[in-house]
Symmetry: C2
DNA sequence: AATTGACTAAAAAACTAAATTAGTCAAAAC
DNA sequence: GTTTTGACTAATTTAGTTTTTTAGTCAATT
């Protein structure tokens, strides 16, 4: 059984990015961790950034799977939006690689990392947008601008889950659901 | 008429902070611009940061005046929320000092500047919260958590006014009002 | 009593030498 | 013939040092 070198490289890089971040991970280190010569990495990936891209791409797929897993077709659309977004942000705060990348962006401002996190955000918005369009087609939602609305919904959840924590006690999933209910269901005025 | 040295110092510092930012403004420069000896600055302000604090404090007062000016007591509360928040973010994107400070935070991450911008944000939230409590007392709003709701409303406007611009064409005041109407008035589901 | 600017200690910038690193490629291994 | 390799290089980053700048002070001046 010939070892799958490509897979070993991706696994080694994922481990190292999670542990030390993107910048602090050297290609020599990845090669050693993967038990391959450094040159081998470059037969599969054009450069360090492409290797990173492949890993982030898997991460996004993993996140979509996580979101899909909490959806329940019989629940109202807004309830499923809450379940999916809360799960995605929970994932972001639990997944080793995501934690490290968010930290690296905040502390060092590594450009490649910022771009990659922006990409993840865009993918989540696109996913949400697609779900929203299906719901509109089914008549479960009014015909709103799905791109802006998806964008805004994600920003609201980031505000309630991440930003709020910077100066206050974290909000529970139920508390967030309660706040969002005011906006999504009833509207603000009495 | 003896020149009002205190006022000259504050004006010189405001001008220099607006033009060069907080970090790049030296106390020697402020003294020269204000036509006073450097020591004079320290008879009015304990240090550079306290001088900055006084200027930011005026800025916040100026912003509140701007917000008050667009309120119309006969309009519904949500309409006034939109008017006030849009005006405040418009102010932020037009006022020289604010533009420079936001830029300095993004590009250099000056700690004192971050703290000061956070303070401005907290003041806006407190202002909004107070308005909201009055509205609840009058029965114009349901009894919601005013701190979280104010926080979230501001974050929504920042998302629509500032964050959206990073990757898209800016949204007009009317477009933003239209989006917010979905959330504030009708709620999302059909 | 108020103002000043030369002065100082501390911080930041500029500079340099040394070390590290992404990516290459001729040779080795299959 | 194809894949794998690690010594090699040019470019970047880091670490250490010197120089410059700056916030804040205070004795002299107004």
């Amino acid at each position: 059984m010939a070892p799958d070198r490509r897979k070993m490289i991706v696994e080694a890089a994922t481990k190292s990015f999670s542990l030390f971040g993107y910048k602090a991970t050297t290609m020599d280190q990845v090669a050693k961790l993967a038990n391959v010569g450094k040159g081998t990495i470059y037969t599969f990936f054009k450069n360090k950034e492409e290797l990173f891209e492949e890993i982030i791409s898997s991460l996004v797929k993993e996140m979509i799977v996580e979101a899909e897993a909490v959806l329940q077709p019989d629940l109202p659309f807004t309830e499923n939006v809450h379940r999916a977004l809360y799960r995605l942000l929970e994932f972001r705060s639990q997944h080793h690689l995501m934690i490290k990348l968010v930290q690296e962006e905040a502390e060092m401002g590594t450009l490649t990392v910022s771009e990659m996190l922006q990409h993840v955000e865009n993918e989540i918005i696109a996913y949400l947008q697609q779900k929203m369009e299906t719901a509109i087609a089914k008549g479960a939602l009014p015909a709103i601008n799905t791109e802006i609305t998806s964008f805004l919904l994600l920003k609201m959840y980031i505000a309630l889950v991440s930003d709020w924590e910077r100066n206050h006690e974290p909000l529970s999933s139920d508390q967030i659901a309660e706040i969002m209910k005011v906006f999504l269901l009833k509207g603000l005025p009495r």
